[in-house]
Amino acid sequence: MNLLENEAKNLFRRYGISTPRGLFYQSMNGIAGSLTNLEFPLMVKAQTTVGGRGKAGGIRTALHSQEALEACERILGMRVAGMRVHGVLLEEMIEAYREIYLAITIDQRSRCPVLLAGCAGGMDVENMPAHTIKRWSLDPLAPLPEEVLDQASHFLLRGGPGTLEVRSTIRAMWRLFRDMDCELVEINPLMITDPGKAVAADAKVAVDDDSLFRHPELLDRSGRDLTELERLAKERGFNLVELPGDIGVLANGAGLTMATLDTLQRYGGKGGTFLDLGGTDDPDRISEALSLLSYDMARGRVRSLLVCIFGGITRCDTVADALMRTITDRDIKARTVVRLRGNNEDEAAQMLRLANFNVHIDLEEACLQAVKVRT
């Protein structure tokens, strides 16, 4: 999960990384009265869990109260990349003689943490010229080596003012990265001010979703960008991604679910859900997953259902049982297409045909049907 900038900065301060003086608000309530506590000019920034807020107009400057209030009002009413803005952060502007880039993330190929340092902060890391950015692979079993701190701080500042602060910032980032199970800790830019202070003007922290059992304080925030259907699925322990299309898809295994959505697209259809049943063979669980999809159809968001199962561990007749039990509404049944392959496929297909389900063994044929029966 991506933390909001404000949440990331709260963590930064706890780890000894300086941030600009600022205030966070979730609504207009109280903003006007507290502006006197900050020194203008101010940065007014949308708090979102997705990138692209700058381009969307979610970062503004304000020279006086009136401008600040207008900016807050606009930002709190906007969406960034379709996602709700969760609040606004007002911060004092920092004057810097250098802006640099620092990040610690995980490199998939080496399976190790990597430190990235860039001489030119403030721009997208993808757009930084290659010679201005350096990387150091870090051993997950060892402490942060002093020579990496030496090399990185020298590369960034050539011994100039702020060297010590940059070193301690990297150290703090490393501790935070480890303690909080981070996928990413990024400061872009880190402002080096004239007396040689280092201040994090922005903050990006992404925490690994699979580690949240170790960070219960974050649990209630992890679902804040989910749709209603996704939330219902999550509460029931299912992995569901809502998609813009109108065909509800239930399959077992992430790969097969994706392949089913791809095949639908080849036949001119568009998936409305990615719902992975996983490796379960429990008829009640299957029934529960089907109920989510029939709910989605009953409210009109999807217009047909495609159930695509490979019976490896799961038995096809168990799935057939669950289908017959759950999909009883005649209209929903008419717009449901089932594709079963694997353990007991013949028996299952026969059961379902007798109950008037549209059943197939072939994936392509089933996808074609799911596109057809939408009406």
Binding site: V50, I106, Q108, R109, R111, C112, P113, E126, D139, P140, L141, R178, D181, E183, D208, D209, D210, S211, F213, R214, N239, V241, L243, P244, A251, N252, G253, A254, G255, L256, T257, M258, A259, L261, D262, T263, L264, Q265, R266, K270, G271, F274, D276, G279, F310, G312, I313, R341, G342, N343, D362, L363, E364
Partner: protein, 290 residues
């Protein structure tokens, strides 16, 4: 070579043997002919599951049974400890079925295993099958047909789909490797490709999906070696960016990891890429003259 220990016919331990999954798949592995010699569940030593003796810790189990590898079914929160024990007890290979492993635990486990030269498959993988000889993990027993193709895959059910379709078409397999759906894997696509090519298969089928650069890295190796008869399928052509499609590793982020980039890289290395599962199996059959 890295990974080679995975391909031996091991004396196997099941870590987490008394759980529902552990018990069920122990029976299935025994039925397939795998030499399951022991199980481990802390606090449940002295029992037996499907005739297999259970021990309190890996060290004792190895001492008593001479086990050389393990398959791990423990919950994610306990995986790190389970692997530490296995590495310390001197196992040569470990297959990690566990889903939802925290990334930092995975980094730790994989770094330690590299250091101690223990070969790891997974986490979040269905395991592997040396067809007709032994099976480690959760793949269904009935789908395989003895032959000489190799399959390497990031997805469980897609592997079963493809293997079953190949078997029905008379195209047998020698080696089926499920690498896992996580972002950090003990054996990645490139390493798996290197391993299976050494066994001189008649062809290799790669089943990839969105996220990361593994397929691209494997395609570089294929080009380098000039390997032939490599087939591939990549799932997730229709996946929207920035959404995690079930597997932790299946996400198109910051313009990388998209399915088309992978398909292009593979085709650029001479790999035959099926546009659908049916297309893939059709292309393989055609090449094999079946």
């Amino acid at each position: 070579m890295k990974g080679r220990a995975l391909l031996a016919n091991h004396r196997l331990l099941v870590q987490g043997i008394t759980g529902r999954q552990g018990t069920h798949h122990t029976a299935q592995m025994l039925a397939y002919g795998t030499k399951v010699v022991g199980g481990v569940t802390p606090g449940k030593g002295g029992r037996s599951v499907n005739g297999v003796p259970v021990f309190n810790d890996v060290h004792k189990a190895v001492e008593r049974t001479g086990a050389t590898a393990s398959v791990v079914f423990v919950p994610a929160a306990n995986l790190k400890q389970a692997v530490l024990e296995g590495v310390e007890a001197g196992l040569e290979a470990m297959v990690l079925i566990t889903e939802h492993t925290p990334l930092h635990d995975a980094m730790h486990i994989l770094a330690l295993a590299r250091k101690e030269s223990v070969d790891i498959l997974g986490p979040n993988c269905p395991g592997l099958c040396l067809v007709g000889e032994s099976k480690i993990g959760i793949m269904p027993n009935r789908i395989f047909r003895k032959g000489d193709m190799a399959i390497i895959s990031r997805s469980g059910t897609l592997t079963y789909e493809v293997v079953q379709a190949l078997s029905s078409a008379g195209l047998g397999q020698n080696l089926v490797l499920g690498l896992g759906g996580d972002r950090l894997l003990g054996t990645d696509m490139r390493e798996a490709m290197e391993m299976v090519l050494e066994t001189e298969p008649s062809g290799v089928v790669m089943i990839g999906e969105i996220g990361g650069q593994m397929e691209e890295e494997a395609s570089l190796l294929i080009k380098e070696l000039g390997a032939e008869n490599i087939f591939a399928y990549v799932a997730g052509v229709s996946a929207p960016p920035a959404r995690r499609m079930g597997h932790a590793g299946a996400i198109v982020s910051r313009g990388t990891g998209g399915a088309w980039d992978k398909i292009k890289a593979l085709e650029g290395s001479g790999v035959t890429v099926g546009r659908s599962l049916a297309d893939l199996v059709g292309l393989i059959s055609k090449r094999a003259g079946k």
